[in-house]
């Protein structure tokens, strides 16, 4: 029940905000997000951490039984951690906007809450249609936040963000629906329990998708990656991100970096890896290569930015490259590292956007030519800035290190020569992938220290119009003091504490993720390497034609049997099955 509440409570408060006067919007937003966070804490407590890989806290209602549509929610440890991240960033986004947003507050806070509900829905849904609805619905609030509350170029940024990600995810939907169709019409119910009738249940479709031949899986991989890769964003479909990040209001950037990008990586973990094991095994080197290009290319572009927000935005391209490299390693260390990376990147990059927003509120510039040496004016801000930079650079002892190190190690372990060694897992990556991706560690130090060296250290530089002798508590900063106020410190502190906690005591989190990850890895190894699946079915090589029932017979494995009856009858069966 918690999961449903987690989606409904923010929605209810959004409606409340819309109905009540604007002065109250802030208050309702605080209550709404805090209430959601409280429910989230309760959910964390109710979750059985002894069996973290099983779906828990589940709830389901029939929606359109004839189509097999259900509203079904449930979480394993991976989903729950990402929901926890969403719920943590919720109040932070509200608190950080108090002074930055002065008009249209109802619109702003209302959509912010809707966004939180949609993101929670993505991680909680156990039904593909619900997943996709929430996945797409995140676009609308984000579009409003950017286009109404962004900076100068906001309209173009919002439109590009919307159209780009929307286009990609429509193709993802096509892929997902194809799997549902395949399940309903091309398999019968002997081997796979749910086959032969229409269902959009994730677990059911997972089994169906695994039964597909390798080349079909390959096409589906392409379709799914269209949406997920854009969302992540993977090179070369990343260009919407720097624009959207730079133009978005602070809270928008925090949510974008913190959670929205993770929808893509989560989608890969939840759908691409377990659904399409044969294709994943085949295409892992290509995905890894793209992610490594993103690491190096994104990192080097960061290095020559003058807009500090754009620098952090491009750093997301580089960072998410590590995350995808870990997924593409297809072993426990890599994938666990990748999921940790999703959380850690949300904390550290989210905090960096908050910090940049705090300076922007004071000096109304993001240009590193106009800002410098802020350490002597804003020592508390500078301390946080250096801290989160170090978390972002992957300094051991802080959270970023654990995940980055594990992603790289996973890639390293997955060398084909090392399958027989005690620490090797075998695969198509290995030494060179880890080495070249590891160069990204050096580049990350280059661009992040360049940023800190400019903005935090060095002689004081302030934009024209701001006196650089200001001991007056700010005059030109509006209601804000020169250095951070208590509210701003309160916003940053939980993130800092979590960075240290996850850096020094990651074991409980790793152990919670491990069974879920091991399931996926074992699935990939067990079903992806089946000889018939890997070689595909001869008659089906001429895709994208749809497989006929006769061809599908060849798919049969010990655990998968094939439709022999007429598909029409089968369809009827599915309908009647649904009617029961």
């Amino acid at each position: 029940m918690e999961l449903v509440l987690l989606i409904l409570v923010p929605l209810a408060f959004a409606i409340l905000i819309a109905l009540r006067p604007a002065q109250e919007a802030k208050f309702h937003a605080v209550i709404g997000t805090l209430l959601a966070a409280g429910i989230g804490v309760n959910a964390l407590g109710r979750f059985d951490w002894g069996t973290p890989a099983t779906m828990q806290l589940s709830a389901a209602w029939d929606w359109l039984p004839t189509l097999g549509l259900r509203l079904s929610v449930g979480v394993d440890s991976v989903s729950l951690m990402l929901i926890a991240l969403t719920l943590l960033l919720g109040p932070i986004c509200v608190f950080c906007s108090f002074t930055a947003i002065q008009e249209k507050e109802r619109t702003y806070y209302g959509w912010l809450l809707v966004l939180q509900a949609a993101m929670t829905g993505v991680f909680a849904s156990r039904d593909i249609v619900l997943f996709y609805t929430c996945f797409e619905f995140t676009l609308v609030p984000m579009y409003v936040l950017i286009s109404l509350f962004g900076s100068t170029n906001r309209k173009a940024a919002a439109t590009k963000f919307f159209l780009y990600t929307f286009t990609g995810s429509v193709i993802t939907l096509a892929g997902l629906v194809y799997i549902a169709w395949f399940n309903a019409t091309q398999l019968d119910s002997i081997g796979i329990q749910s086959a032969g009738r229409w269902t959009f249940d994730i677990a059911a479709l997972e089994a169906a998708a695994q039964a597909m031949p390798a080349n079909v899986q390959g096409w589906l991989l392409l379709a799914m990656m269209c949406g997920f890769a854009i969302k992540i964003p993977l090179f070369p479909v990343h260009t919407w991100l720097p624009l959207a990040h730079t133009e978005a209001p602070t809270a928008g950037s925090v949510v974008l970096a913190g959670v929205l990008l993770k929808l893509g990586t989560y989608g890969m973990f939840r759908f691409v890896l377990p659904f399409l094991p044969a294709a994943v095994l085949e295409y892992a080197p290509i995905i890894a290569t793209l992610s490594i290009i993103g690491i190096l290319y994104g990192g080097l572009i960061c290095w020559v930015q003058t807009d500090v927000k754009k620098l952090v935005a491009y750093s997301s391209v580089a960072h998410l490259g590590f995350c995808i490299l870990g997924l593409a390693a297809l072993n426990t260390v890599g994938i666990t590292g990748s999921i940790l990376y999703m959380i850690n990147h949300g904390l550290s990059t989210g905090a960096l956007f908050l910090l940049i927003g705090m300076v922007y509120e004071r000096y109304h510039t993001r240009s590193m030519k106009e800002l410098g040496g802020l350490a002597c004016k804003m020592p508390v801000w500078a301390t946080f800035m250096v801290f989160f930079t170090m978390a972002s650079v992957g300094l051991p002892g802080l959270n970023g290190f654990i995940s980055e190190f594990m992603c790289l190690m996973g890639a390293f372990q997955a060398g084909d020569k090392w399958g027989s060694l005690p620490g090797g897992t075998g695969g198509d990556l290995g030494f060179w992938y880890a080495l070249i991706a590891g160069l990204g560690m050096i580049i990350a130090a280059m661009y992040l220290l360049y940023m800190v060296g400019r903005v935090v250290w060095g002689p004081l530089v302030l934009p024209a119009g701001h006196d650089d002798h200001g001991h007056d508590g700010g005059g030109s900063h509006g209601p804000l003091p020169t250095d951070l106020c208590a509210r701003e410190i309160f916003v940053l502190l939980p993130l800092a504490v979590l960075c240290i906690a996850l850096g020094l005591f990651p074991k409980p989190v790793i152990k919670a993720l491990e069974p879920a990850v091991n399931n996926v890895v074992e699935t990939i190894n067990a079903t992806g390497k089946r000889p018939d699946a890997a070689s595909g079915v001869k008659a089906m090589n001429d895709l994208p034609g749809l497989p006929s029932s006769a061809d599908v017979r060849h798919v049969s494995d010990a655990d998968v049997s094939v439709a022999s009856s007429s598909p029409t009858v089968q369809w009827g069966g599915a309908l009647s099955g649904g009617d029961k």
Binding site: V333, P422, G423, I442, K507, V521
Partner: protein, 748 residues
């Protein structure tokens, strides 16, 4: 007979303690006492308390006393740990850090385990004794040295200081390579923060950044080495790795490297890249001289005595891995020897006394690496130990001069300092330090350098290294005493440095209080003297006490050489650890007595120095070389010198052609790196930024234009109105669902 008892012990342990691990050469691992964890924890506590002090805006010397206290207790605990050790090994686990488990395709349970665990053997104790001891002393020194910054940067300085000692303790005491990596990067962070302590100076900020990035290059090598070690051995813990290397040691000793898997031989080559970065060896040494932008106590502790020896520690700790690799140790030896030579030549031509000391550090680290490379891990460790004391005292003496003369470090602008009132302690400390560094007979530096030199001639094929190091020893003696004869003796003269006008330039601190702002002109009078009437202020009790203690210790370190055979006390410590050479497993074939007597039997042909036994003759040769160097410095920089700025050496300069200019310009290595690596990379980055904007994003925009051109009739759909997008989206979903739905009914 330590070794014999070790062997007996290991045989017993092998039989009783570790079934399956036949021939285990190292003593079994016991559970260590819990308080070992306090050794790293106390400096961390000091760091946290200093942070709290900063938050509470404490304007006293409290942070310094907190730090000195915590570090002192930490040192006492280290001494207790050493007392308890008694030749064994122990592991204390503070908490479990990283733990991932899976089942591999063969059905084996595998796991990646890295705990916050502390591995204690004699090598750990050796390192921790001088790390915590020196840190305590230098923190005491810094309490006075940094007193200008009380209330501003004082808390920040000591917080970073405490964090450094914590990181260094993790590096040295960690029971696995990942915790070592944590300490490794942690000391890098503290180095970054402390080099950039005077953060308003662009040069300090640049130097800090350079140090961090150069170290990161090395760190990548270290990380890859850790990955490969894990892949090969299935663990990153020393207890597994060191044990796993044992079976190959015999093959390596016999020269059968083809029996050892290539992956095993690759591990040390990756690890050493990390060591070269952290310990400032070719080609990654250029960050260390620039690191002198930091306050002098930092230079003494981090950039001379402790952090930069981490590379030596890493190699010594994983010495069995290096021994089973055919090319690893020869590479280490050559890199070390060449670094020693190159750094010495640059040091000879510098005028900034702190930079000279920095280059001498690079050069001496080269000796240590060469020592490891020529199979005398004892010599290397002994040199680390003696160097830590005398180099710290040299730096702190330079720091006292810098502190007293308002930042003056140019040896052409200071002379006869030793004869000025109140500077005697500093001069004595400096003289003792210089004698040690120059390898003057019967000093500690003489004995430790000697071991490395002798062994270079003993070890087959390493004689060229010996000659390079011998030449470098002469150069070292020259440039060391060039400083002494110029600055501390001769006619009395000084010019104050540029900090006389802005005394608070000692780091404006981070608290942005107006009174410490940018208007330094208001401060000239603060200290009771205007620019015209500058008085050098001689050091106070804390600085003098620390200098005296270090001087006594650096003299006393020579005595350690006589506490036992084969490298004295340090040798005993090294022999009882994994860094021992020859490896214990090989000696087990001999009887203990014979092994002791013929420690070099397995070298095959015992090398010679011009037909003589290097072990004996080197005492004389290196002594003479040191004398010659000092004599040349005396002739060129003391004899007949009337002023501070000129000396006999100046007459020599034109005769050498472009060499002095090149050496003064540090052989222009920085410039070459900039031209070959930094500039091209920057250019590529700019090109990438344009490609991203014009090509990658341009293609996307082109896609966007196509429908816009085609469907101008559908203009209302692209009104930019949010609601229409939402409707389109929902419509798109519905249409797609419908298509699939209909297709499935109609088509099938």
């Amino acid at each position: 007979m330590t070794i014999a008892s070790d062997i007996m012990g290991s045989i017993l342990h092998g039989a009783l303690g570790a079934p399956g691990a036949s021939g285990a050469a190292l003593p079994a691992i016991e559970a260590g006492p819990w308080w070992v964890s306090l050794i790293p924890a106390l400096p961390l506590l000091a760091c946290i308390l200093c942070g709290v002090s900063a938050a509470m805006r404490i304007k006293s010397k409290l942070p310094a006393w907190i730090t000195v206290g915590c570090l002192g207790v930490s040192f006492a605990l280290t001494a207790a740990m050493f007392q308890q050790l008694a030749g064994g090994r122990s592991v204390t686990i503070a908490w479990e850090w990283i733990n991932v488990a899976w089942t591999d395709s063969g059905g084996h349970e595998r796991s990646l385990i890295a705990n916050f665990g502390f591995y204690v053997d004699s090598l750990t104790c050796l390192w921790m004794l001088f790390v915590t001891g020196l840190a305590t002393l230098i923190a005491l020194y810094a309490s006075e040295y940094m007193s200008h910054d009380v209330g501003t940067g004082y808390c920040r300085f000591f917080a970073a200081f405490g964090l450094f000692v914590f990181s260094m303790a993790c590096l040295v005491m960690g029971d696995n390579l990942i915790l070592l990596y944590l300490g490794w990067e942690g000391v890098g962070l503290c180095s970054y923060l402390l080099i950039g302590y005077f953060y308003k100076k662009p040069s300090a900020v640049a130097a800090a950044k350079k140090a961090f990035i150069m170290n990161r290059i090395g760190d990548l090598g270290l990380a890859l080495g850790i990955f490969l070690a894990f892949v090969q051995f299935g663990s990153v813990e020393y207890k597994v790795i060191l044990e796993a290397a044992q079976p190959w040691l015999a093959a390596a000793q016999a020269g059968h490297f083809d029996e050892i898997p290539a992956t095993v031989q690759l591990i040390p080559i990756l690890l050493m890249i990390g060591a070269f970065g952290k310990s400032a060896q070719l080609p990654l040494y250029v960050w260390l001289p620039d690191a002198m932008e930091g306050p002098t106590p930092v230079s003494a502790l981090i950039h001379a005595a402790t952090m930069v020896t981490a590379g030596v520690y890493l190699i010594a700790r994983t010495y069995p891995l290096f021994l089973v690799s055919e090319y690893a140790l020869p590479i280490v030896a050559w890199v070390g020897a060449l670094t020693a030579l190159v750094a010495a030549t640059i040091g000879m031509a510098q005028f900034d006394i702190k930079r000279i000391m920095a280059y001498s550090t690079v050069s001496q680290l080269g000796y240590m690496f060469a020592g490891l490379g020529v199979l005398t891990s004892t010599g290397a460790a002994f040199h680390v130990f003696t160097h830590a004391f005398f180099k710290a005292s040299l730096f702190l003496s330079c720091g006292a001069v810098m502190h007293g003369f308002a930042g003056q470090l140019d040896l052409r602008k200071l002379s006869g300092v030793g004869f000025m009132k109140g500077w005697q302690f500093v001069a004595i400390a400096m003289l003792v330090g210089c004698l040690n560094l120059a390898g003057f007979p019967f000093t500690a530096g003489y004995f430790s350098k000697d071991m490395i030199l002798a062994e270079a001639f003993v070890t087959p094929h390493m004689a060229p290294i010996g000659w390079i190091l011998l030449l470098t020893a002469g150069l070292t003696a020259y440039y060391t005493f060039r400083v002494f004869f110029r600055v501390f003796v001769g006619p009395k003269y000084y010019e104050p440095g540029d900090e006389v006008h802005a005394h608070s330039d000692h780091g404006h601190g981070d608290h942005g209080h107006g009174e410490h702002g940018h208007d330094a002109h208001g401060h000239a009078g603060d200290h009771g003297h205007a620019a015209g009437e500058f008085h050098p202020h001689a050091p106070g009790w804390a600085i003098n006490f620390v200098l005296l203690t270090l001087t006594v210790l650096s003299v006393g370190a020579a005595g350690l050489y006589f506490l036992g055979d084969h490298g004295g006390w340090v040798g005993k410590m090294v022999h009882a650890s994994s860094a021992n050479y020859p490896p214990i497993v090989d000696l087990a074939a001999h009887s203990g007595e014979a092994a002791d007597a013929h420690a070099h039997a397995d070298h095959g042909a015992h090398g010679s120095f011009l037909g003589m036994d290097p072990h004996k003759v080197m005492y004389y040769v290196s002594g003479i070389v040191g004398f010659v160097g000092i004599a040349i410095a005396f002739a060129l920089h003391y004899v007949g010198r009337k002023t501070a700025a000129t000396a006999n050496a100046d007459k020599l300069v034109p005769l050498l052609g472009p060499i002095p200019k090149l050496a003064q310009g540090k052989w222009f290595v920085d410039e070459v790196y900039d031209l070959l690596i930094v500039k091209p990379l920057h250019l590529i980055s700019i090109v990438f930024a344009y490609i991203d904007k014009l090509l990658v994003d341009g293609l996307v925009n082109a896609f966007g234009w196509v429908p816009r051109g085609v469907g101008s009739g559908l203009r209302p759909l692209q009104s930019g109105n949010l609601h229409s997008y939402a409707v389109q989206m929902a419509g798109g979903v519905a249409v797609l669902l419908l298509i699939v739905f209909l297709a499935s009914i109609a088509g099938l």
